[in-house]
């Protein structure tokens, strides 16, 4: 559905059911250079299991207008504006990579608006190699190759996708190639500049699930666990053989984890 957030048109996929603000809501937040389609399975599942779903395209991404926001803190405030626009008082937040930092920061800054968290492929900081930052800033195709190549675990590169006939690596590459020029560079810059992860984690007061890839080379599981240790009462699930692209490399495990915590029927 289309919403207006801070005066700009925003798209959020609702998982195949009309958005109902009376139901408990969940916001799914994609990573750098991506869009709502990374959550296609989880969106549909949650929407048909009692949740109102907003699988959002962040500003400048996918079908949403405007320029990408350049800091995790600004994106966190934007998530609250999104909730306001949708008429949602409190929502669960699930985020991947950059989206996980956004969810974490939102829970720290606006704890009264966040019911619970699910953070996928996350670490306290996400320093980005200067070569990758430079390539992304120049819209050099090598930036996408680096993200896709390092982002998938060895099994992801071989394949054996749960969804019949789909090929993960080319699929991820095509998705990122759809991003508007400059978007990936801004996103990676926001990840690189974010230093409040530990502080934000300590401020989280809601239940938090960390869903980590066992062979994640971008945000190694040990870094995710270290961050989880700073969130009181957090829960960690480490997925063996899975890389950074947790929800596409392990869609059923992701849905199972979401189902246990977010299903509302």
């Amino acid at each position: 559905m289309d919403l207006t957030v801070n005066g700009q048109s925003v798209y959020a996929h609702t998982g195949g059911r009309p958005f109902d603000p009376a139901l408990p809501a969940i916001v799914l937040i994609h990573g750098a250079g991506m869009d709502h389609t990374v959550w296609s399975l989880q969106s549909r599942y949650l929407a048909h299991h009692g949740r109102s779903v907003l699988a959002v395209d962040l500003p400048g991404h996918g079908r949403s207008a405007g320029a990408p926001l350049s800091s995790i803190e600004a994106l966190a405030d934007w998530i609250v504006a999104l909730l306001d626009a949708a008429g949602v008082a409190k929502a669960a937040l699930a985020g991947h990579s950059m989206g996980a930092l956004v969810a974490l920061e939102t829970a720290a800054r606006h704890g009264e608006r966040v019911e619970s968290l699910a953070l996928l492929g996350v670490a306290e900081t996400m320093p980005v190699h200067p070569d990758l930052l430079a390539a992304a800033a120049l819209n050099d195709p090598s930036a996408i190759e680096l993200v896709i190549g390092w982002g998938h675990g060895p099994r992801g590169h071989v394949g054996g996708a749960a969804a019949p006939g789909l090929s993960l690596v080319p699929g991820g590459r095509r998705l990122m190639q759809r991003a508007r020029p400059g978007v990936l560079g801004v996103d990676l810059g926001a990840c690189n500049a974010y230093v409040r992860g530990g502080e934000a984690a300590a401020a989280v007061s809601c239940p938090a699930l960390f869903l980590l890839g066992g062979v994640d080379r971008m945000t190694p599981a040990k870094s995710g666990k270290a961050l989880a240790a700073k969130v009181s009462g957090s829960e960690v699930i480490q997925l063996s053989g899975i890389g950074h692209m947790v929800m596409t490399e392990a869609p059923n495990a992701t849905t199972d984890a979401f189902s246990a915590r977010f299903s509302a029927r």
Partner: protein, 436 residues
């Protein structure tokens, strides 16, 4: 920063799409000869039907063995996904039915497989879909033939049987300028020799029956989605960009982004038209794909040797060959384009004209001992056919001429036998045919 590493072609040919079977540890791809799959519970069943969870329901729509082949072929061609079908013809039909309704129009190369030409010329018009054929070298002709109702441009990497090289970059520009996708049949080259998606094509199809399998024991086809075409910006493809009442109101572009086409092709096309590939055929084709790089090297090696022999016959004062055509020959009109699109070889189909015309051609084919006379190409065994009387027999004289099929034309599919034996067989049959 270290470069990202991706698995190379030979590795993908052996591994893509498969993890050792979790139930048994089987290293080979198991043949899941099962029509259907037990649900964990009623909620799991509902989730599968509603596309909330990935998995298999019924083997007409997807099957674990077929899925390995689909993912492997998508990986080799660089596509976001693939749907395997009962035959190459079924793949072409599935792609067209996914893209357009009655009233749709296609602009196609005139130099394509006779079966495809029959489908486009005679059968699809019964369902309201028409085609304009254009010489594959006439890019302006393609542009001029596009109408408001056109929904697809289509051609073969190597024309059949004329072996014209399709200008994929040029055609894709024409297609995209008109908001249309380009689909390319790459059967004759396989992804080992050419990846059309990397040159701007949007969809690729193969008859898996040919070089991909190589053994001549299984019929099958595949259509591969490149995932780069923007269906929404085009605005001409409501099957992909508007809610589909036949599947919970899904808008495939909204839901799946780059994978919109391949998801609709499976969810509707296989479900309703039903031209699925059997798991046994998928297994057999997978055995071929595992050795695709090795076999294609052998095909190219032998083809170059045979070309040398036929050229020597064509140049000899009393030679039995009137002409030889193959894109690797310097006098081929598309030689330069071939160097760009097919740097590792231009396939193993060779066309030549035998002196003495139709009757000499008939005698030649009957005298061959190693080459098998049959209606197929791309087998590990060498094959021969006379197109005017077989694959293109439905075409009238005008259409034959437009397709570049002369009555003296012989088409060889060069296999993997010792090339000296192949040349000996050709030499004796040519002598016998000419002498008579």
């Amino acid at each position: 920063m270290a470069d990202a590493k991706f698995l190379k072609f030979d590795t993908l040919s052996l591994h893509a799409g498969q993890r050792p079977d979790p139930a048994t540890g089987a290293r080979a791809v198991p043949i899941y000869q099962s029509t259907s799959y037990v649900f964990d519970d009623t909620d799991h069943a509902a989730s599968l039907f509603n596309l909330e969870r990935p998995g298999h329901i019924y083997s007409r729509i997807s099957n674990p063995t077929v899925a390995v082949l689909e993912e492997r072929l998508a990986a080799l061609d660089g596509g976001v996904g693939a749907v395997c079908t009962a035959s190459g013809q079924a793949a072409l039909t599935l792609a067209i039915m996914t893209l357009m309704d009655a009233g749709g129009h296609i602009v196609a190369s005139s130099s394509i497989y006779g079966g495809s030409r029959n489908l486009l010329t005679y059968t699809l018009p019964r369902f309201g879909i028409t085609t304009t054929f254009v010489n594959p070298r006439d890019l302006d002709g393609f542009r001029a033939a596009i109408r408001p109702e056109t929904r697809l441009l289509f051609g073969e990497v190597l024309g059949n049987p004329g072996l014209e090289v399709l200008d994929i970059p040029g055609l894709s520009t024409i297609a995209h300028d008109a908001g249309l996708p380009l689909m390319v049949d790459a059967t004759f080259v396989t992804p080992y020799l050419c990846k059309p998606l990397s040159f701007g094509a949007d969809l690729v199809m193969h008859s898996c029956t040919k070089w991909l399998a190589g053994h001549g024991v299984a019929i099958g086809g595949v259509v591969i989605d490149g995932g780069a075409f923007d269906w929404e910006t085009s605005g001409k493809f409501p099957t992909l960009t508007e809610p589909y009442a036949g599947y919970h109101g899904i808008d495939f572009a909204e839901e799946y982004g780059p994978a919109a086409f391949v998801m609709r092709a499976r969810a509707e096309g296989l479900r309703d038209f039903g031209a699925c590939m059997s798991p046994m055929n998928a297994f057999q084709i997978l055995q071929g794909v595992e050795t695709l790089p090795l076999r294609m090297k052998g095909h190219i090696h032998n083809t170059r040797k045979v070309l040398g022999f036929l050229e020597s016959e064509a140049y000899a004062e009393n030679g039995s060959v009137a002409w030889v055509t193959h894109p690797e020959l310097p006098d081929h009109p598309d030689h330069r384009l071939r160097a760009q699109l097919l740097p590792h070889g231009a396939g193993s189909i060779v066309s030549f004209g035998i002196k003495g015309g139709r009757e000499a051609g008939r005698r030649f084919i009957e005298k061959l001992a190693l080459f098998s006379h049959l209606a197929n190409v791309g087998d590990a065994k060498s094959l021969v056919i006379h197109p005017a009387s077989t694959t293109h027999a439905q075409l009238d004289a005008e259409a034959l001429a437009a397709a570049g099929v002369g009555e003296d034309m012989i088409r060889l599919s060069i296999g993997l036998e010792d090339c000296d034996d192949l040349i000996d067989d050709l030499r004796q049959a040519l002598r016998a045919a000419t002498k008579a």
